[in-house]
């Protein structure tokens, strides 16, 4: 009995010490993103300076999984404090009550590009869908417009598109078919699928960034639609890549705080750090994705700025994430029906 009491006492004492330490300095929070080089860059640009400034440790987790996200919030057992998600999911999650509103007394809303901030989410970075091609396969013919992706006579070879039902492919089909950028939404699905039907046999699909790079670099696909950062990475690795920015389509990753996140206060401060001019400038320099903070460019060198999507603002089209959030289920149904035909 005596020993048991001693063990209990020792346990309680160590528990108190543990709690005290946690309260005083070792507070921590969890940041979840997609892994790979992007999350490494987010860790270096945001998490490390954040810990240095506030003493709050940032644990990295990932990859982001919307199923897990929803399960955590529904069960009230939330392990994540800040999560990097796609823009259309961020909008949908806010509508479904899965995320906390952003505290704009902590985050400076006026510094963020209004395209990439909502009441419930702030931009993580933004990027563009661009036309990429392999010059070794196409020779001296350089495709320029989205219509060229559908022109199998002038540009023979397989073309690669994003596999899943998501903003991008349908817009590209409509633009290629001659729809004016300001008349894109609501999407004319019949027309988009009719246009895609014309090249269905020539499409190879990419399900993730690494696969898109593999398809283009090997020449398996002569041309296609790509995330601009992935083409930039290919160029950096010494692969010859052609890029056309004509009518590049912007999309973004957003940072959200799941409803019931255990360290909400720290999370809001983390959002402020991530969207700060410096945080966004450092991330952009490492990834070639664009900063959402309008003041970041002043902090970046000219060579880095030249690689960013905002150098190609002329003709740039913003994918309508509110439209997608409202229609993603209906579009997905049509999308998979068409794909599996």
């Amino acid at each position: 009995m005596k020993t048991l009491k001693m063990i209990l006492a020792a346990g309680a004492a160590s528990l108190c010490i543990g709690l005290g330490a946690a309260g005083a300095q070792a507070q921590s929070m969890v940041f979840t993103s997609w892994g790979g080089t992007t999350q490494d860059a987010q860790k270096a640009a945001w998490a490390e300076p954040f810990t240095a400034a506030t003493g709050v440790k940032v644990q990295q987790d990932g990859p982001t999984d919307y199923g897990k996200f929803k399960a955590m919030v529904e069960s009230g057992n939330v392990a994540w404090d800040v999560v990097d998600v796609e823009y259309d999911f961020a909008v949908k999650a806010a509508q479904d009550g899965l995320v906390e509103p952003v505290d704009f007394s902590v985050v400076k809303r006026d510094e963020i590009d209004p395209r990439f901030v909502t009441d419930h989410a702030v931009g993580s970075f933004y990027y563009s869908f661009v036309l990429g091609y392999n010059p070794d396969v196409l020779g001296d013919k350089a495709p320029k417009s989205w219509a060229d992706l559908f022109d199998t006579k002038s540009f023979p070879g397989k073309r690669t598109f994003y596999k899943w039902s998501a903003p991008g492919v349908l817009e590209i089909a409509l633009l290629a078919d001659g729809v004016a950028p300001d008349k894109l939404y609501p999407l004319d699905l019949d027309r988009a699928f009719r246009k895609l039907d014309t090249i269905k046999g020539d499409i190879v699909w990419w399900g993730g960034g690494a696969q898109s790079q593999q398809l283009l670099a090997s020449g398996e696909a002569a041309l296609g639609m790509f995330w601009n950062g992935r083409l930039h990475a290919l160029e950096q690795s010494g692969t010859k890549v052609g890029v056309s920015w004509e009518q590049n389509l912007t999309a973004a990753d957003m940072l959200v705080v799941p409803k019931g996140a255990p360290n909400k206060d720290a999370a809001m401060k983390f959002l402020a750090q991530a969207t700060s001019a410096k945080g966004q400038a450092d991330l952009a320099a490492a990834t070639a994705y664009a900063p959402v903070n309008v003041k970041s460019k002043d902090l970046m060198d000219a060579a880095t700025v030249a690689t960013l999507p905002d150098q190609h603002a002329a003709g740039q089209i913003n994918l309508d994430m509110a439209y997608w959030a409202a229609n993603r289920d209906a579009i997905a149904k049509r999308w998979y029906a068409w794909q599996t035909q």
Binding site: K163, S165, W205, G207, Q214, S218, E220, D329, Y336, T340
Partner: protein
């Protein structure tokens, strides 16, 4: 001889005497399965009749949609094809493993098992690189002048079948090998002595004896193929999308858990039915060969 046994007074030890003996040892494993497999599956299935409204709406949607039915059919086509090809390729290997000299069979056994120790994703990407239009196989064939246009070996049914057959082969070979190994070679002598031709000996002696091994291997490969995800996703085209891919999309991206639960239940019921058929035809204890 058999009759004599029933006359003897020595009690025959039977398995029915203490049916629950050793059950306690099963409990931890059973508990783990119950907690981390059965309960979550039940929860998902409950969602299929509760979300978004209580009722059978999700099942109506599943069976009313040509997309889901086509994907469902695809799944069984691919699984059936993979099973047939694995059986055809695995049988000679299993046979050789059973009759070859020990040293040779040990080496071959090592090769068969070694492939299972390599990461699935790495293996699938390797196939992608081999099979694509600009891949090693097509380039070699073109350089040799055998073909002029690259063959379509990937992003279609051919790619999925090749990739999955390769991954499933060990699961066919091992039970087949186990079944073949236990056959006493003297039995074929006996058959020949009784006047059986080689063909009769094969059909009426050998095949019935290896049938349980074939059934076990085929069922294992078929059922594992039904739930496959990575390989069809990377080597298949969208027109042979399999159910697991669609369920993953529903769960992770579209957050339509009700419909995902319905699709999962349909797949589960069909799989269990197949398992029941196997037990009925070949017995439970012999499924392992």
């Amino acid at each position: 001889m058999v009759m004599a046994r029933s006359d003897t007074t020595i009690p025959i030890p039977t398995r029915t005497r203490r049916p629950m003996a050793g059950f306690g040892l099963v409990l931890p494993g059973l508990g783990l399965l119950l907690l981390f497999f059965v309960l979550p599956v039940l929860a998902l299935l409950l969602r299929s009749v509760l979300e978004p409204q209580p009722g059978l709406g999700n099942y109506a949607e599943f069976f009313g949609s040509t997309t889901y039915l086509k994907v469902f059919l695809n799944t069984f086509t691919v699984a059936g094809l993979v099973t047939a090809v694995t059986l055809a390729l695995g049988f000679p290997v299993a046979w050789f493993l059973a009759i070859a000299p020990r040293r040779w069979s040990a080496l071959l056994f090592g090769i068969v098992v070694l492939s299972m120790w390599t990461n699935l994703l790495a293996r699938t990407y390797a196939w992608m690189v081999l099979l694509q239009r600009t891949g090693l196989i097509n380039r070699t064939l073109i350089n040799l002048g055998i073909i002029s246009e690259p063959l379509a070996l990937t992003n279609n049914l051919v790619g999925v079948t090749i990739g999955m057959t390769y991954i499933m082969l060990p699961f066919m070979i091992l039970p087949l090998h186990a079944a073949i190994r236990t056959i006493d070679p003297a039995i074929f002598q006996a058959a020949a002595l009784c006047g059986a031709s080689r063909g009769q000996s094969l059909r009426r002696v050998f095949l019935p004896l290896v049938a349980p091994g074939m059934a076990a291997g085929a069922l294992m490969v078929f059922v594992m193929s039904l739930g496959y995800f990575v390989t069809p996703s990377l080597l298949g085209g969208t027109s042979n999308m399999m159910l697991a891919e669609l369920i993953a999309q529903l769960v992770q991206s579209l957050l339509n858990w009700g419909l995902a639960g319905a699709a999962a239940l349909v797949l589960l019921v069909v799989t269990l039915a197949l398992y029941a058929v196997q037990i009925r035809w070949f017995g439970f204890g012999r499924t392992a060969g």
